[in-house]
Symmetry: C2
Subunit: 253 residues, 2 copies
DNA sequence: CGACACTTTGAAGACGATCAACGCCGGTGG
DNA sequence: CCACCGGCGTTGATCGTCTTCAAAGTGTCG
């Protein structure tokens, strides 16, 4: 049943790249498929790392409580993302964020010892893990740069682009997969700012009403996002989006 | 001569922890001691990763050019920091920042293949590397949080604390190791803002005139920094600083 | 001495946060 | 069935902080 489906796609994630199929089988056996309900807290900051997770389906938010008492979402993770590896390898071996289920989620859960043992036993896996964590590190840096250099409008546009690519939505019309408070928190802005920002995006090719998003002007959108981001030309997400937008206009012609 | 000194301290960095001494000797032989002059660009963004560096002495800034043409310093690295590992393991294997010598610097330079081979051959080393990169990732995230939640005054105080601890300066009086433009860039603010901020810090226990810094009120300073940072209680740097301040007041009594 | 990099100071402006009020909707309980 | 409530989203007005532009001061090095 479900296990079969999940294992099918999980075995293709970069973490397992380069491993023989039979080794993958062996490794994946250690995982347990778990379904978490919306709102469930998987772990809290400061707890010893006990598990490593691979998300099969659904969304999980990572967040931290700030000094002034409210919570800042550091990331929203979805299918094929992994959780816990960075925290575990970190000196102290404690979780560095809280994790809570956004929408009902299915995850593959491994005891954390599995991660260490596998890294020790299979150097290919260890290198993949290094790659994975380096990638996260780079993303975190890029994100910081974005926060510093982009206006809230640009942040929002960049975010919309990302979810459009990740979930393979149709740029012409799609729905926001999360409620606006969560998105605002993820983008590091207040809900009021987020709300106001959405209205101003019309001139940049994006129309949002309710939770319907329509990118009605591909050129305007592309230009707007592009000159916001210092690495736009090297950005896989941005390229993917351009392709989507291009395909959409092809179809119309 | 110099090689002996350097190798002495380098062998104790976390990256080599848990390796037998003879293995360390063997590994360190692959490194070449290089001295770079101030202003020298070691590598530029987008170049293929060719080397892995361990800083023996001096300071190196990592920076990226922003869309609007000026440069943002992402980090200033000093003794015992490593450079290149994250970029290398990153898909694409290109440097993700520019690196330039701030003050004359001595580094231990390894061909990048050494890094991969060592990680493959010694699983302890691979795990250390994972630990190192996870640490960087955590720092990047914390930094982002700081940028989001702290005022410029708090950012500056936090920075002064860090350099005071890293360089083991006397909190009672020390000199800024870099010029103010560089520090401002590192903190993600304009030089004007930085300059103005310094004046306002007197009431928080910090006096800055020219490039002399004096922390003249330990309690005020500690409180100010502490309620700025959500993780202050878990922050090794902050604890170290408290100890320094405590010792200083001990001596006076 | 003059050129140039670095730093400081002033004044104006932009942007997002904050505080406050209200509309909308779905659910619960009388 | 209706009234009330709470979560969510929008809108308005105000405020503080940092940036920006401009100018002048400080220091160093040829």
């Amino acid at each position: 049943m479900k296990t079969a489906i999940s294992t099918g796609s999980v075995r293709d994630i970069p973490l397992f790249a380069g491993l023989p199929e039979e080794v993958k089988d062996e490794l994946l056996k250690a995982g347990r498929l778990v379904k978490f309900p919306k709102g469930k807290v998987i772990f809290a900051i400061g707890e010893k790392v006990t598990h490593f997770y691979i998300i099969i389906e659904g969304a999980i938010k990572l967040f931290r409580d700030t000094a002034d008492g409210y919570e800042k979402t550091t990331d929203i993770l979805t299918t094929s993302h992994t959780i816990g590896e960075r925290d575990f390898f970190h000196p102290g071996h404690v979780y560095n964020t809280n994790a809570e289920i956004v929408n009902e989620a299915t995850v593959l859960e491994f005891p954390i010892s599995w991660l260490k043992n596998t890294a020790q036993k299979h150097s290919v896996f260890a290198l993949n893990l290094l790659s994975l964590i380096s990638e996260y590190e780079y993303m975190a840096e890029l994100e910081a740069e974005h926060q510093a250099n982009m206006s809230s409008a640009q942040m929002v546009a960049c975010f919309l682009q990302r979810i459009c690519v990740i979930h393979d939505y149709n740029p012409g019309e799609f729905e926001l997969p999360y409620n606006k408070s969560l998105i605002a928190s993820r983008l590091g802005m207040e809900v009021e700012t987020f709300s106001r920002t959405l209205s101003t995006l019309r001139e940049n090719g994006i129309t949002v009403s309710g939770n319907k998003v329509r990118i009605h002007n591909a050129e305007a959108f592309d230009e707007f996002v592009c000159d916001a981001c210092s690495v736009a030309e090297d950005c896989a997400t941005h390229k993917a989006m351009q392709k989507k937008l291009f395909n959409a206009s092809e179809k119309l012609a």
